[in-house]
Symmetry: C2
Subunit: 196 residues, 2 copies
């Protein structure tokens, strides 16, 4: 057995977890999301930059503002999910580095003086954190429905500012009726892994 | 208790897991990495694109080819880690989509006809998979030391091709003596999460 993590936990996070197409009406609270964040915030990022920012689309008014930007395929499920989270990358994360990286407080000037370098690194590292967050949602017994099908420029203008780039939108809840189609295949290890 | 995942598993994956600066000599086998991949491959990506590719730097000869590209800070630990993995994004992932996304086999033409769109999406989604992989390493009772401090263009030329972009390099093994400094702080939830 190569794993320390038990099989039930492996199933919960990876093997049995799926992206749902429908949700029950069971609410998802801000406290649940906060607990998820307080767990997954420990996942590593480059220079501990922690660029992920989360906007919870909670009110009916905010949801109505979001829906026009969703693709036709994603709009119905976003209209009915208990909670929708907009994940974004903070391109000005370097302002927090003196606090987040106390052993190298000059990291912002050394590595991230250029906005283009910050945007690239924030995109990669907020994506790492988005993956930790998705697994955290599953660890909380909930299902995550991450989506890229939306008007990113429109969502940025509606909910964020020029320094925050939308990364993905995630519906969160418990799977409803007919939530899952057949699981799509994955690449085999020998298609992905090369040893040199 | 907001979590289904038990506290020991939360600790293993997030709270107690750390990025080690030193490793023991205990080997990490290709079979372990394959088992880790076979678990984490189920993590979601956009359109199931699965763009992550992994090159295991196993031989002494390959390690000697890699070391000159590592930053001064990362070279000594990469020289002594039991195994080093080069993670890359496959910018031509769309060629696999008819097989990976059987319910929407035209997704490659619809969304990824432009190389620039593929590069952006591969970067984000390979980053998601890199995060799943890091947690998979931890699930296997090993420690992951992800690094961005290397000459990416040089590593690409030495080990990859024009279609594969280096994403990060990860040392894998068991923590050695003095492996950990103090844990750096994280942003609080109320600095990261906004509810609208």
């Amino acid at each position: 057995m190569p794993f320390v993590l038990d099989a039930a936990a492996q199933d919960l996070l990876f093997r049995e977890a799926r992206t749902p197409q429908t949700f029950t009406a069971d609410p998802v609270t801000d406290e649940q999301v906060r607990a998820i964040y307080d767990l997954v915030k420990y996942g590593p990022t480059a220079h501990n930059q922690c660029p992920l920012r989360i906007t919870l689309i909670r009110s009916a008014e905010a949801r109505e503002r979001l829906l026009p930007y969703m693709s036709d395929r994603n709009r119905p499920k976003t209209a009915t999910a208990p909670l929708t989270a907009l994940l974004a990358a903070d391109n000005e994360f370097h302002q927090e580095l003196p606090r987040l990286l106390p052993h190298l407080p000059q990291a912002g000037d050394l590595f991230y003086a250029q906005r283009s370098a910050r945007e690239h690194s924030a995109l990669v590292n907020a994506s790492l954190q988005a993956a930790y967050f998705i697994l955290g949602v599953r660890a909380a017994g909930l299902a995550a429905g991450p989506m890229n099908g939306f008007d990113a420029a429109g969502v940025q203008k509606e909910f964020l500012d020029d320094d925050h780039t939308p990364l993905m939108i995630i519906n969160i809840g418990r799977p409803g009726p007919d939530a899952f189609g057949p699981r799509a295949p994955r690449l085999d290890g020998d298609e992905v892994i090369t040893t040199v």
